[in-house]
Amino acid sequence: MSWSVQEVGQILTLAEAGELSRDDLARAARIAPLRPSRTTWLLAVDRLFALAGALLLAAAVVFFFAYNWADLHRFAKLAVACVALAGCVGVAAFSAPFGIVYRAALLGACITTGALLALIGQTYQTGADLWELFLAWATLMLPFVLLARSSASWALWLLVANLALARGLSQSGWSVTLGDWFGPVGVLLLAGLNLAALLLFETLGPRLLSLPRRHIARLAAAGIIVPLTAGAMIGCWGGKYVAVTMVFAAVIAAGFKAYLELRRDLVMLAFVTFSAIAVVTTGMFRVLVELASAGGEEGAVFLIVATFVYPLTALALIGGSVLAARWILQLHREDRSA
């Protein structure tokens, strides 16, 4: 009998945390040594050397082409990128569907698609804006993403789609009417794009992913919450972001309803709760600063803000965070014991 690498790691961690005594550790070591067995070493080395050897050879090829890049004809450069793309697709075609090699090869195809588009843009100076490159990349890699059904490929697609929208809002003609990507409309559009992705994965997740994981749904939720929280915090100081604050409030309410009652997801719930605390604390800070500023001199106001408003805000933040953490931890315990 021997302990697995994961088991030895856990046993040593328990001992280092003082949860296992020296005698416990000695008893565990008497059953089997607390280190990887020779078989484990040979298996790990076999996998690592195959992967690292192939990777180093691939890196050597990249370095070799980089050394000769300036002397290559543009067709040769495009051929290099096309061969890399074809190689990735070829490996995926001849590997077991949805295995690690298959998914890694298709992720490689997604990345190479972007590199090929960038190379075409650089070689022929098409005059396209960056957002057009991102849009074309997101569109052209979609078939590979749908075939791969992997979280990594979908994460890349979502990132590129967000970049296309953010850059499009800054560079396209829409920026005249909609404002910059961090204007109120830009924030709402970014949140809208990610909301669409979230709804897609909440409803069709099992069909879009080969392994039922929540990574992409959570990533999309971050894409909704982060811009909306930032916008709502600015909105607490009034101005044109008030609409964002109202949408934020609606999203938070919907988030609590969805992830507490409809589909229990504590990560999402923690995300929503702490975002709400951030915005409420900012609102409280604003009210306190306004109260302190009423009719005072600049120096006195600074002193009042620093002496009373900062610690009060800090206390509110501490109180809110501690209560929220206790509540989520309680739910976590309930889920584990259920």
Partner: protein
């Protein structure tokens, strides 16, 4: 069942611990990392507000930019941090971490701005930083804080040594200590209680990887200087780092294979020697390989992944380094890759024999 629960069940089934202990240990629900992270962010913002509260009156009174205010403020923050660490809550632990780091920075800045001695050497500032971080490392606190303090101590010592051959030697020493620490992980429990071995091992590993990168930058800068016809402060012994890293890798491979058959040991040591020769122009790969052997032996999965990631990042940095041409680098990488693939074939014979 979680990995922790599975291990506890296995320990109970093998009679290492009894069922009552399993129940007690299983009832301890650790805070999930994502919740700890969100709490940490909130704690850091709250700490920033509280530190501002503390320093605003000093600023108004005109002491804010002075060395005395920074020094007193720094010491008070360090005391507050020590007190908060005694509360043993995630939130207070994070606040204490923020206070400790801010306090150490303030003490350092107070020493650097000490007006009574304007010509104070920078070396003494790093020495003070080293002392403060070592003292805070010994304070009973969280693993994160102790790792941060150990890392700061490593950084201050590195700054004290300065660039050049000293840095290369320091990088080799850090890597050797990190490898030795992880190879001896199963004996940590036998060391005196309270000795922060694990945080020091974390800091040494991170420091060794960072120093490997800094050595690359240093060698690259020297190559640029020699291209421009300039002469550096002292002739850089560029062989020092790859030779040191190679010795560590051979030492680790030799120690790990000490109980194996002579033939297998010969293959392991011969393979490690070939790897060192092939990767001589890319010494970061040799350091990564030595660290990888050590952390895998220690069964630390997170560091195994991180060291592999560091090796990948090193390749990115290596691309832009200027000491050799891309053609030479391509040759070195190809040779290293072929050595690994060749070794895999040779070691496959032992794997086929079923251990």
């Amino acid at each position: 069942m979680s990995a922790r629960g599975a291990v506890l069940a296995r320990l109970a089934s093998r009679g290492v611990i009894d069922a009552a202990r399993v129940e007690t240990l299983a009832a301890t629900v650790a805070t999930p990392w994502w919740l700890a992270l969100l709490q940490a962010v909130a704690a850091w913002i709250a700490s920033l507000l509280l530190v501002s509260t503390f320093f605003a009156p000093l600023l108004l009174a005109g002491f804010g930019s002075g060395a005395a205010a920074s020094g007193i403020g720094g010491v008070l923050l360090l005391i507050a941090a020590i007190w908060l660490f005694g509360r043993k809550r995630i939130f207070t632990d994070q606040m204490a971490l923020a206070f400790s780091l801010a306090g150490q920075a303030l003490v350092l800045s107070a020493f650097a701005n000490f007006r009574a001695a304007p010509d104070i050497a920078l070396d003494r500032v790093w020495l003070v930083g080293l002392l403060v971080s070592v003292v805070m490392l010994l304070v009973r606190s969280t693993s994160t804080h102790r790792t941060a303090c150990a890392l700061l101590a490593c950084a201050h010592l590195g700054l004290l040594i300065g660039p050049g051959n000293g840095l290369m030697l320091y990088a080799v020493v850090l890597a050797a200590l990190a490898v030795a620490a992880w190879l001896g992980r199963s004996h940590w429990r036998t060391l005196p209680a309270g000795l922060p071995v694990k945080p020091i091992a974390h800091a040494l590993t991170l420091g060794a990887l960072a120093c490997g990168w800094l050595v690359g930058v240093e060698v690259s800068r020297e190559a640029m200087q020699s291209l421009a016809g300039e002469v550096g402060p002292a002739g850089l012994m560029t062989w020092l780092y790859p030779a040191g890293a190679g010795a560590i890798l051979l030492g680790a491979a030799g120690w790990l294979s000490r109980a194996t058959a002579v033939a297998l040991r010969g293959v392991v040591l011969g393979g490690a020697t070939l790897f060192v020769i092939a990767a001589w122009q890319a010494p970061g790969l040799i350091t990564s390989a030595a660290l990888l052997l050590a952390v895998f032996h220690a069964c630390h999965r997170a560091w195994t992944g991180l060291v592999l990631l560091a090796a990948l990042l090193y390749l990115g940095e290596y691309y832009y380094s200027l000491q050799v041409t891309l053609l030479v680098k391509a040759g070195a990488l190809a040779a290293t890759g072929l050595v690994l693939l060749g070794l895999r074939l040779v070691l496959g014979r032992w794997r086929g024999r079923g251990a």
